[in-house]
């Protein structure tokens, strides 16, 4: 899994123009982002350890790593739920196909 971040630490799963920088994911970040859909990942902000993000209101987040949504979390949760439902449906369809093959 490759995640890129922009100057506001917003996550991207592609880097078409080379404008973003790739993040070496911590073990915790790897676990957090594993099995997450693109919409979820790209709705998150990842501030790496040792770097500083200054929020719009001036509050400073520095020090250790922080992952937090930048898009409304309701939207991310809904996208992830749909992604998991689609995966489950595909898995069920695949299994049905396998079962049918054995029934022949």
């Amino acid at each position: 899994m490759k995640i890129y971040i922009d100057t506001e630490f917003c996550c991207h799963t592609t880097n078409p123009n080379g404008a973003f920088r790739e993040v070496i994911l911590s073990e915790a970040a790897l676990v957090f982002f594993s099995n997450k859909c693109t919409a979820f990942i790209e709705g998150c902000r990842l501030k790496p350890e040792g770097e500083t993000w200054i929020r719009e209101d001036g509050f400073v987040f520095s020090g250790d790593e922080m992952i937090t949504p930048w898009k409304p979390y309701d939207e991310l949760a809904a996208a992830q739920a749909q992604y998991e439902a689609d995966l489950a449906e595909a898995a069920a369809a695949y299994q049905e196909g396998v079962n049918s093959a054995y029934d022949l």
């Binding site: 073990e27 915790a28 929020r55 922080m66 949504p69 979390y73 949760a77």
Partner: protein
């Protein structure tokens, strides 16, 4: 503690009301002002049409309306009426601009100074009414010692430990979750510490922080853990939680304050 009820209105400072709502276009303009007690200053360039005090987002907002998010605990609570008592516990504010609720800054003028809205869950030995702390460990021990002006959280053994505040809170409407800690002692597993809002605290070895987390490691002196809540929307409640592991060791620290801004 009294329940809050939605209050809707315009203006303020009238014969019956004990507060006022004023627009300031910049932080410096607000800071320079010395209005009357319980004046709520809203920093915005959009004219304020009406204001709503409510625990949940009002459904009938028009452009310019300000929603003051209220709860059951606030460091800037005030009596809204001059003669009777309707206590309001403001937690934060948003304004309806061009069809959407947007974050705006605001403060309340009390006792001669401008104060930020914040919800304090714990401060210097005291929990807000109805709140408490619990701790669990999967194969070691997790304990909370309540001192006169702090509490000591300790995780021990070859284990995962979870410390969490009860009951759950609704983070929507707040900007930041903060915890002031000090006097860290011992050792914890590196890269294992997480602070934030958890959906489940049943299994210390599998705590879920679905909206992300603020990582932490052993610290020196005093430190503030801070987790951004500005995009945490919806009506889902979470536990304020802190999670870390120890490997045949003990790690402890003192908690001085836990609050939301």
């Amino acid at each position: 503690m009294s329940e809050t009820v939605p209050i809707y209105g315009f203006g303020g400072g009238g014969a019956a009301l004990n507060f006022d709502v004023k627009q300031y276009t910049t932080e410096s303009q607000l800071s320079a002002a010395k209005p009357k007690e319980n004046t709520i200053g809203v920093i915005t360039t959009t004219a304020i049409t009406n204001w709503h005090f409510a625990a949940e987002q009002p459904g009938n907002m028009v452009n310019g309306d300000v929603w003051f998010h209220t709860g059951t605990s606030s460091t800037v609570a005030f009596n809204a009426l001059k003669k009777n008592n309707v206590t309001v516990y403001p937690l934060g504010l948003k304004q309806y601009v061009n069809g959407a609720l947007v974050d705006v800054s605001g403060k309340i003028y009390q006792a001669g100074i401008w104060k930020d809205f914040e919800t304090v869950l714990y401060d210097s030995g005291r929990f807000a009414d109805g709140f408490d702390v619990d701790a669990k460990s999967d194969s070691g021990s997790a304990s909370v010692t309540k001192n006169a002006d702090s509490m000591t959280w300790e995780g021990r053994g070859n284990a995962w430990h979870i410390f969490y505040i009860t009951p759950k809170i609704l983070p929507s409407g707040h900007k930041t979750l903060k915890m002031l800690v000090e006097n860290a002692s011992g050792s914890m597993d590196s890269n294992s510490g997480k602070f934030g809002i958890a959906s489940s605290v049943d299994s210390p070895d599998d705590v879920e922080f679905p909206t992300g987390y603020q990582a932490f490691s052993k610290f020196s002196g005093q430190k503030i853990f801070a987790f951004d809540l500005t995009a945490i929307t919806g009506s889902t409640e979470y536990y304020v939680a802190l999670h870390f592991g120890t490997t045949n060791s003990t790690f402890s620290f003192d908690v001085k304050k836990i609050w939301l801004e």
